[in-house]
Symmetry: C2
Subunit: 177 residues, 2 copies
């Protein structure tokens, strides 16, 4: 199985740091050329399933523009330009919850969209987390921090209460781990 | 917690059936207005974790433009315009593998991007699948069908071998189920 080749790329929409749309000319292994394949350039992000030193999952409850009502959520956010994913994950944990954790496990790096790119999700499990400060998130959304048992997370996940794709992914992968 | 209000929306890039970019004027609960919030309109899609009548996971091995090398993958694809998600899932299963299944379980509907939309992922578990035809996929990528044991899927998932976010999500949710 051969990869597609990128023959050329041009920007067709520049919307600042959060979204650039490119058009790629790509060549398939059979020689066919697609001259106008859309490609989304968006920042990589982290999501973190957090388990505290008392064995509970630390989650957020928040709104998001793309969903109806409130959702349960893991810690997460965009990488700053040039930022290491683990550093970003640790920064977001402290900002959003006031916790730090000594034990970090990568749950993988995933392309968000197999066809269009749209950045990569860096998923983590943080264990033995403990509180050192008040939350100090600068997110646009209102959010509250809450602790759930493993059984409560399993039930909420099965009920679709983590409503955004990377959120359900990181929680499911963490439970399997 | 109050949702953001959409005050206005306009199309800023129309790239056909697979991508439209809108700019939304949104009002936050505190009254702040963001005049140019980018929003991605892309088709909803399905991904299906498939278990055969002999208890094996039916997976694909394929390339994708956004990843390096090959990846393990579940069945999946875009909804046709107006198509019911379950019908799309059953269609993709037959097209990509030549299998049908009598037992379908929803694993949830998820916004792909909490901020920008980018369509919704409809995730399913299909059980007791059996073969009725040859695969007949019209996908652009080369792919091959393979059967894996539950333990093999767990190992591959933990090793990051399902390289696209909704693929790892549906397999992890299926294993938890």
């Amino acid at each position: 199985m051969q990869p597609w080749k990128t023959l050329a790329r041009k920007i067709i929409l520049n919307h600042g740091q959060f979204l650039t749309v490119e058009s790629h000319a790509v060549e398939l292994p059979n020689g066919r050329v697609i001259s106008d394949w859309p490609w989304l350039v968006t920042p990589d992000f982290v999501n973190v399933a957090v388990v505290t030193d008392s064995g509970q999952f630390l989650c957020l409850r928040q709104t998001k523009y793309s969903i109806k009502g409130v959702s349960l959520a893991p810690v997460g956010g965009y990488l700053e330009p040039g930022e290491d994913p683990l550093v970003a994950a640790q920064r977001e944990l402290l900002e959003e919850t006031g916790y730090v954790a000594p034990d970090w496990i990568s749950l993988g790096i995933y392309a968000v969209d197999g066809n269009r790119g749209a950045g990569r999700a860096h998923l983590f499990l943080a264990r033995a987390a403990y509180r050192v400060a008040e939350p100090n998130a600068d997110d646009l959304e209102e959010q509250e921090v809450l602790c759930l048992s493993c059984a409560e997370v399993e039930t909420a996940l099965a009920a679709g209460e983590f409503k955004v794709l990377p959120w359900s992914a990181v929680m499911a992968l963490a439970l399997l781990h």
